[in-house]
Amino acid sequence: MPIVSLTREFLEHFNITECSRAICGGQKTVYKVRIDGKFYALKVIKVADERFIRELKICEEFKQNAGIPRIFEVKSYDGETVILEEFIDGNDLSQISGQYLGDETKVCRLIKEIIQSLKPVWEARYIHRDLKPANIRIRKNGTPVILDFGIARALDDESITVSGGQPLTYIYGSPEQYAGKKSLISYRTDFFCIGVIAFQLYTGKLPFGNGREEIGLKYKNGNLKVSSGSEKIDIFCNAVFKVNPSERPRTIDSLIKLI
């Protein structure tokens, strides 16, 4: 495993014996590191803003939840914030989505597990707001871990995005996110995004198209009924694919019952 980007002093400071860069985003760089023989995800945050604090808070609050990565340590180093997090040995769902194609049982099981992982988060009045395959890591045993609560929001807090919740990845966004209706963003926004993931996993296609305009137009027209070829997936998707969040399943248990 090549050592990249991090200085010798940094590696020594954290007792890192192996390191490779996994992802480089705008605000953070993530490395896979080995410390004392164990692998970790090490995140280096340039600016520890409100988003970062919120993500930490959620991970800390739900550290017993196997569907959310555990955080072991948060430190400052040379003006940057360093987080040592559980390394999830597996793949992003976006990398292995083909394994779910046409497999109703496998898709339903995964979706149910994602919902169950998020249940305590929603019940605590947090919402993820950016659920997509790239933010779901599948462990070697097939169970999902939800990543990147970076734009998650506590429903009683002020929003951290100016637009009131425009999703970072628009193809998985809900109608209320498209319309910038901040007051309608809730756990039922996440329900909608999970529906998009379920449909895509089963069919290999996005339910409302790939383009922002195309999707926006469909949301505006209002009829979001889809047909995937699986009755079970259709029941689930058509229950969550409602333009009005008030018409989507009201409770998490009722959502689980649909899949």
């Binding site: 929603w122 007051s183 309608l184 809730s186 009005n244 008030s246 018409e247 009201r250």
Partner: protein, 386 residues
């Protein structure tokens, strides 16, 4: 679905039709008419166990201006507020006392009062959320809590405002058993029911969504146009009322003095799906076309359609005839459990009514104003496109 009598002026007609003609299943006592001593009334005693009470906070302080109303008899009613403005804290206290009043008086279906708000949806939502937290602490197993949702006309025509309210009402944290829906439909002059498709569409969405989310629904102060809503969803309690003010929610009733004025009355025709003015009934009868509009198997109808009957809106038979005809129509529709079949059935009723109007015209019987077919094409369009 339970047909619920709204008990306003001349409540004896409602109670009599329940006792003697098996019309209706439950009662809604109006605080405006019956006041704090409702339970001492001989008439109401036998039906108290089947009753709910609407404490009618709609007009807030302005309700104290009404001469005839008895709302001020309730010491916790905002009509008694001594300050110029009713603050939200004061109003919340009134609501909590209203809940306690109903509990103390043995009501098992508790209607949580709310105020009429013309523009600010956030004020409505704030109160709903506040009271929701409060009732969590006092829920008893044998009590059901219904939060009042009074839709002002300006709100019900705005689908975005309606969705904001529904969004709050259907949140997973809501503890209410159901909602008591009141809607200001504002029919046009010389019309009894609205033809505004926005009102029809959005009110239908309200009732459908609440039911979809497993809340019980009470649609209060309903008129016979409730058949359009009933065509698409189950409503748990649907009210019927004798006088116009019990069938058409209008905020001015709670803020200004008003009276209905003289009238010979109306005949609700199950075949025309409309209220026909007494004068028009005479016209239809005179041209030998009564059979086309006459309600079948309705003993009150038989009485009032006899030659020489002296029509007057305050005569019990006229009102009882309408209560029977409307409740029968509601029941017939709601008895069809399959919603697709139910909608189809209502569409066939509308189609028949349109045909009867055409037949009357072909026989040179022209009905105008309230009696005319001003509503059926809107209903048909709505049901066909929804």
């Amino acid at each position: 679905m339970k047909i619920t009598h709204v008990l306003g002026h001349n409540s004896n007609w409602n109670v009599e039709t329940y006792m003697q003609n098996s019309i209706g299943d439950a009662f809604l006592i109006t605080a405006f008419t019956h006041g704090i001593h409702y339970d001492a009334k001989k008439l109401l005693k036998p039906i108290l166990d089947l009753s709910m009470i609407d404490l009618q906070f709609y007009g807030k302080k302005e309700s104290s201006n009404i001469e005839k109303g008895k709302l001020s008899e309730f010491d916790f009613h905002p009509a008694n507020c001594e300050e110029n403005d009713v603050t939200s804290v004061y109003f919340e206290t009134c609501v909590k006392k209203a809940i306690k009043f109903q509990q103390d008086n043995g009501f098992k279906k508790i209607i949580i009062p709310n105020f009429y708000e013309n523009e600010k949806v956030e004020d409505i939502i704030y109160l709903i959320k506040t009271i929701n937290k409060y009732i969590k602490t006092l829920k008893e197993e044998d009590e059901e809590y219904y939060m009042t949702l009074p839709f002002a006309n300006h709100i019900i025509i705005d689908k975005e405002k309606v969705e904001e309210i529904l969004f709050a009402c259907t949140d997973m944290d809501m503890n209410f058993d159901g909602y008591f829906v009141v809607c200001e439909t504002k029919p046009e002059f010389r019309k009894k029911i609205t033809t505004d498709i926005k009102v029809i569409r959005n009110l239908s969405t309200v009732l459908k969504t609440l039911k979809l989310q497993s809340f019980k629904t009470i649609y209060a102060y309903a008129n016979w146009d409730a058949i359009i809503y009933l065509a698409q969803t189950d409503i748990d309690y649907l009210t019927i009322g004798s006088y116009e003010n019990l069938r058409n929610f209008d905020i001015s009733r709670f803020t200004n003095n008003s009276s209905g004025g003289p009238s010979k009355g109306y005949y609700f025709s199950e075949k025309l799906l409309n209220m026909v003015r007494a004068e028009h009934i005479t016209l239809i009868k005179g041209t030998g076309n009564l059979k086309l509009v006459k309600n079948e198997k309705n003993i009150f109808s038989e009485v009032i359609l006899k030659d020489g009957y002296n029509w007057n809106i305050h005569r019990p038979d006229i009102n009882k005839c309408n209560l029977l005809a409307i409740s029968r129509l509601f029941q017939e529709i709601s008895s069809i459990s399959d919603l697709k079949r139910r909608k189809k059935h209502v569409l066939s009723l509308i189609k028949n009514a349109i045909e009867i109007y055409k037949m009357l015209e072909s026989k040179h019987v022209y009905l105008d104003n309230e009696s005319s077919n001003y509503h059926l094409s809107v209903w048909k369009t709505y049901l066909k496109t929804s």
